[in-house]
Every structure is written in C-alpha cells, then in structure tokens.
C-alpha cells in the first residue's frame, strides 16, 4: 500500500483527542509533523503506484521538486502551528490543525485532479472547525460563510475536472493551461481559494474571526495550496500577471485604514499572494521559482505575524489598533519576534522576503514589463507600510494604552522563535533555500545595486510614515469596519431577499387580487357563452378516468426520463 505523509497526519490527528494525558498528547502532536517530514524526504521522486477507479487513472502520490517544496513548507508550518497550539486544553483544535495540514500536504502531492479535489474539499471542511472553535454565534456564522466559499471553490474544481475528462484529457494533473471551459472552471475554483480580486472577500471576512490559534493555522495552508495548483497548472498565463498586480495593489489601501490588526494581516496576505500569482503569470524558471519560494517564505513569516497578533489577542483580549499601544513594555520578546516577521514580509535585506520576492521582481524585469514592475514596486512599499510598520507600531509602540500583561506563553514564544530563525535563515543563506526550488537558475540576490535600491525604497517609505505620523496627517486608528466585497453577501443579498419577500405579498394584494377577479369574470363569461354550457355540465366518469390516466402517465413518463 502506498505511503503518504498526508495519511500519516490525518490518521494521526484522529488519535489526538483520544490521548487524555497532557504530555503524551503533546508528544504525539509534535512528532506527527516531524515524522511526516522524514517520510516525505524518504519518498523517491516519481509517482506511486496508480490504480484505476471507474475507468479513471488515479495517482495519489507524486513527488517531484515542486510538490516536495510545497509539502515541506506545509509540514514545517504544521510543526510551527502545533508548537504554538501546545498550551491549549482544546484537543479539537489541535487535532484539526494536524488533519488540515495533512489535507494540504495531500493536495500538494496529488498526481491527479480527483485526488486533488478530495483533499481540496477536506481542507475546506476541516479548517472551518478552526473558526467554529470560537464557539460563539458570531464565529458560527463566520464559519458558515467560510465553508460556503470553500465548497463553491471545490464544486468549480470538480465541474472543471469533469469537463476535462469529458473532453478526453483524462485526470492527469500537470500543465493545464487556459484552453477550454473545463480549465476556466478549474481556474475560477482555484482563484476563489487564492483570493482573486472580488473573490477575496471570504478571506478578509472570516480569517480574523477564528480563534487565537485558528487564524495562525488558517494562514499557511489553503491559499498556498491554491498557489501550488496555479504554479503547476497555469504557469505563463498572461491573465494571471494582471490579476496578481491588482491583488498586490488594492489591499494595501484597505490595510492602511483597517482597525483590526489581524484583518490588516489578512489584507497583506492577499497582497503577498498577488506577488505569487504575478510570478506564476510571468512563468518560466524564474517566475515559477519566485512564486513557489515566496509562497513557502510567506507560510513562515505570515504565520509569525499572526502568531504575534494572536499572543496580543490572548493577553489583552483585543487586536484593534484603536485599543492597543505601548505593549513593548509588557511583551518585549513578542515585540522583537513580531518585528522580525515584519522585516521579512517587507523584504528587508537579510530577511526571507528579500531573497524570495526579488526572484519575482527579477522575472518581471527580465520580461521588461514596465507598468507591472512599477505597480509591484509600489505594492512593495505599501506592504512595508502596513505590515512592516503599522502592525508593530500600533500594537507595541504608539500611544501607551496602559496594558500591563504577562509575556506570551512559553510555547508560543518558542514557536515564534522557530519561525523567526527560519525567516533569518532563508534571508542570510538564500542559496541553501534555492536548492529546493523546482527549476535550476542563476540568480544572486545580494548584489550592491539590489541591496542599496531596496534600502532606499524601504528607508524612504519609513521616513514617509514617520513624517505623516508626526505631522498628524496619518489616518488615526478608529473603531470601524470598511466596506469591501463581503458587503455583497452580508448586506446587499440579504437586503435584496428581504425586499423581495416584502414586495411579493404586497404585489399579490395590490395587483394579484384585482387580476384574479378579472380572470374569474372572464372565465365565467367564456363558460356561459360556450355551446349549451358544455364545460360546466357534469362530466361522465368514463372521460374523467381517461383524463386521470393521461395525467398520471405523463407524470410517470417525466419522472422516468
């Protein structure tokens, strides 16, 4: 029977709630991702034994450089998240994290579209529990909204797969391209999970509604699995370049005025995904390498930032910029670790984002796409603004709000430290990390022009922030929500439905009743004026039976068709 780290994690996760002893359970939680990593790297490259199901060829495990890179990233993220969740007494969340990570690994290793679909849906289903784990009315509703988005995405993927099979392409999951309606449906399904513009609302709406640990666990898997599917199925698709550019640019405006700091991070996640999507759109060795490298780096530094905000939420009870400030006095270690994550996402030299995002920028540069490049550069300055400065500044510095709280629990600090070490490690020794990338390439991130230009961009952007804050021009953090695409399904659609249910009875009263009277009057006239009133005369049993048989036969025929 084939071996897969995905099954190990999913089956192992089932054992987590069964172990009541604290130490034993913690040991299982930590050993599963590590065992998964060992298992993954012992698997030989190539596909496992495939088998036929209903005449379709299934390949549950395929290991090559691309799938191994993403699976490794997912397993590392699973380990980080598990350490972060170690203090919980809620074994449901701990088990769900491992199962959810397992589905992401399974999706990355899937060699055919049907296996991918199964893990795709399982990922959506299992992760919804991380939102429901809040166990409030609000989290229940948010979880339902999240689940609906995930299920729609899965249905699109399934419909696209079915169309492809019908067209005779088979189930194989390799380069798909945008050639037919099946591919378009698959791309739409992936786009929903990848938070394409206008399809992104579920992410910024529901991620910040999850529990402290839940949001950390949600951040690395689903969206990056979508990036993986794009990188394998749609590299070099021109449309994706522009989709990616829009994804990098629009969220930074929202992030500047958003008050909930975890929602700011959700917006910055769309921004980072935009860089990856643009990299996939450019395609080629450098573009795909850049997208995958940045995806894996993002799993770590975005987790780190969510972990820091989770620690703040756990200790203070809020992550609203309008309520926070001055926490560096009580949580100095979390502050430093958060700033390492902030430096990584902002692509400061010596941190991971610098080594990975520059691959994408270089790919764009080699294609000489000036407008794309300028917009991505603007978005780079923008991400530094909200994720690099705003998050640490408003949470830990700014105005001291008088919070005197204990430092984050030990396991959380350990998890954040592990993530920070990885961020710095990738940034300091990028060549070791580049070895893992799917394509061979010749690129050196640490050149004098690159380092100096990046420092100029970031230092002057921080100068702009400083001047705006000191002159009072910077928009203050206010208790508010901002309208986004989720207003469509949270306000416009319910309001439309309500309006409809109110109008229909009124219409029936005002228009329907008079119309009914007219119709009756008309019917009476017709009947009376018919020859000798034959229609109203009693019908013979004979003809009634015939009519009944005809009707029943018709219904039966329709049901059988």
């Amino acid at each position: 029977m084939m071996t897969s780290p995905a099954l190990l994690l999913i089956l192992g996760a089932a054992g987590v709630p069964l172990l009541r002893g604290g130490r034993l359970r913690q040991a299982l939680i930590l050993s599963l991702p590590v065992a998964g990593l060992v298992m993954l790297w012992l698997l030989p490259e190539g596909t496992s034994a495939s088998f036929a199901l209903f005449g379709l060829e299934l390949t549950p495990v395929r290991v090559d450089a691309l799938s191994r890179l993403f699976a490794t990233g997912f397993l590392v993220a699973a380990l980080l998240t598990s350490v972060y969740a170690l203090h919980l007494r809620d074994s449901l969340q701990q088990a769900v994290i491992l199962a959810y990570a397992g589905t992401a690994v399974g999706g990355a290793l899937a060699g055919d579209l049907l296996t991918l679909f199964v893990f795709w849906e399982l990922a959506g289903l299992s992760s919804a529990f991380l939102i429901w784990a809040g166990r409030t009315e609000r989290s229940y509703r948010a979880g339902m909204r999240y689940l609906v988005a995930q299920l729609i995405s899965g249905l699109l993927l399934l419909a696209g797969t079915a169309l492809r099979v019908q067209e005779g392409h088979g189930l194989e999951f390799s380069y798909l391209g945008l050639n037919g309606p099946g591919d378009a449906l698959i791309l739409a399904g992936v786009g929903l999970k990848c938070a394409f513009p206008l399809l992104h609302a579920w992410l910024t709406d529901t991620y910040p509604e999850a529990t402290v640990v839940g949001t950390v666990a949600l951040s690395p898997f689903t969206t990056k699995l979508a990036v993986y599917v794009l990188a394998r199925g749609f590299p070099g698709t021109e449309m994706l370049i522009w989709v990616g550019v829009v994804m990098t640019v629009f969220p930074i405006f929202y992030a500047v005025i958003e008050n909930d700091l975890r929602r700011v991070l959700a917006y910055s996640m769309i921004n980072q995904l935009g860089f990856m999507v643009a990299g996939v759109g450019i395609g080629g060795a450098l573009g795909v390498n850049g997208a995958s490298a940045h995806a894996v780096a993002d799993m770590v530094f975005k987790s780190l930032l969510f972990m820091a905000m989770g620690a703040v939420l756990l200790r203070t009870g809020t992550v609203k910029g309008s309520e926070l400030g001055g926490l560096y006095k009580s949580m100095p270690q979390t502050t430093v670790l958060c700033m390492i994550g902030a430096a990584s996402i902002s692509a400061f030299p010596l941190f991971s984002g610098f080594a990975t995002k520059s691959l994408i920028m270089e790919a764009v540069g080699q294609e000489h796409r000036t407008v794309v490049w300028l917009l991505l550069l603007f978005a780079s300055a923008g991400v530094f603004h909200h994720a690099g400065i705003k998050i640490p500044y408003f949470a830990f510095f700014a105005h001291d709000r008088g919070f005197r709280v204990p430092e984050a629990p030990l396991n959380m600090r350990v998890a954040m430290t592990m993530a920070a070490v990885l961020c710095v490690g990738i940034g300091v020794a990028p060549n070791l990390f580049y070895e893992l990338l799917p394509h061979t390439m010749d690129y050196a991130p640490y050149t004098a022009p690159h380092v100096i230009n990046q420092l100029q961009l970031l230092l002057l952007a921080s100068m702009a922030f400083t001047l705006l804050v000191r002159t009072g021009l910077y928009p203050p953090e206010l208790r508010s929500v901002n309208l986004d695409a989720d207003a469509v399904y949270r306000r416009a659609l319910p309001a439309g439905w309500n309006a409809l249910t109110r109008t229909v009875p009124r219409l029936r009263r005002t228009v329907g009743t008079p119309l009914g009277h007219c119709a009756t009057a008309l019917w009476d006239t017709t009947v009376r004026s018919s020859v000798n009133g034959r229609v109203i005369a009693p019908w013979s049993t004979h003809s009634m039976v015939w009519w009944a048989v005809l009707l029943l036969g018709g219904v039966l025929l329709l049901a059988l068709l």
Binding site: T136, E137, R138, R141, F253, Y254, V256, I257, R315, T316, G317, T318, E323, G326, K329, G365, H368, T370, W373, L374, L377, F378, A381, G382, H385, A398, D400, R401, G402, F403, R404, V405, P406, A448, P449, N453, Q454, L455, Q456, L457, L458, L459, L460, A461, S462, M463, A464, F465, T466, L467, L468, R470, L473, Y474, P475, S480, V481, N482, L483, D484
Partner: protein, 109 residues
Amino acid sequence: MNDEHPNEFHQDDDRRWLDDPRNVTRIVYGLALLCLLALAADIFYTKHPHFSVEHWPGFYAVYGFTGSVGLVLAAKGLRRWLRRDEDYYEPPERDESVEELPGRNRDDD
C-alpha cells in the same frame, strides 16, 4: 509615544527610554541620516537596470517616498466612502466592554 501621566501606572512601572519625547526625536533624526546615507550610496555602484527609470538618480528613494505618501493620503480619502460603524454587519460579541479587558490598568484619555 510619550506619556504624560506616568504616576497613574503601577509603582514598579518605570519610565522607559522611549517615553522621553526627546529620544523619539533622536530616532527620527537617526532615520533621516540613514535615508541620506542610502541616497548617497547611489554614487558608489554601477547600475545594471532592466528599465530606463532606474537610471534616474535616487529613483527608488523618490518612488518609495511619494508612493507611500500617496498611498496613505489616498486611503485616508477612501475612508470617507468606506467607513461604517463597527456593528454595521452584526453586533459586537467579544469586546463590548473594552474597559474591562484583562491587564488594563487605567482607562485612556
């Protein structure tokens, strides 16, 4: 950044280096110095750009600065259109009483 009522904190809550506004100003000057250094560094390397705009002296610095200011001011303008009350979608559940948050010593001004 600065705190004008330090005595309202706990007794063991000593003033930190950053609590002094003069030190914050020092940091700003330090940042300005770093910016100048980064600009000056433009002279000391040869450029191998993909785009003609990269030939302009200090392009990245100017772009980073104007881009950031433009971003913040545009977002501030957008807030007028996008801003809604916190309970626009549903009533708040978790932190309706922010004053009672754990670990908080005093209400803010």
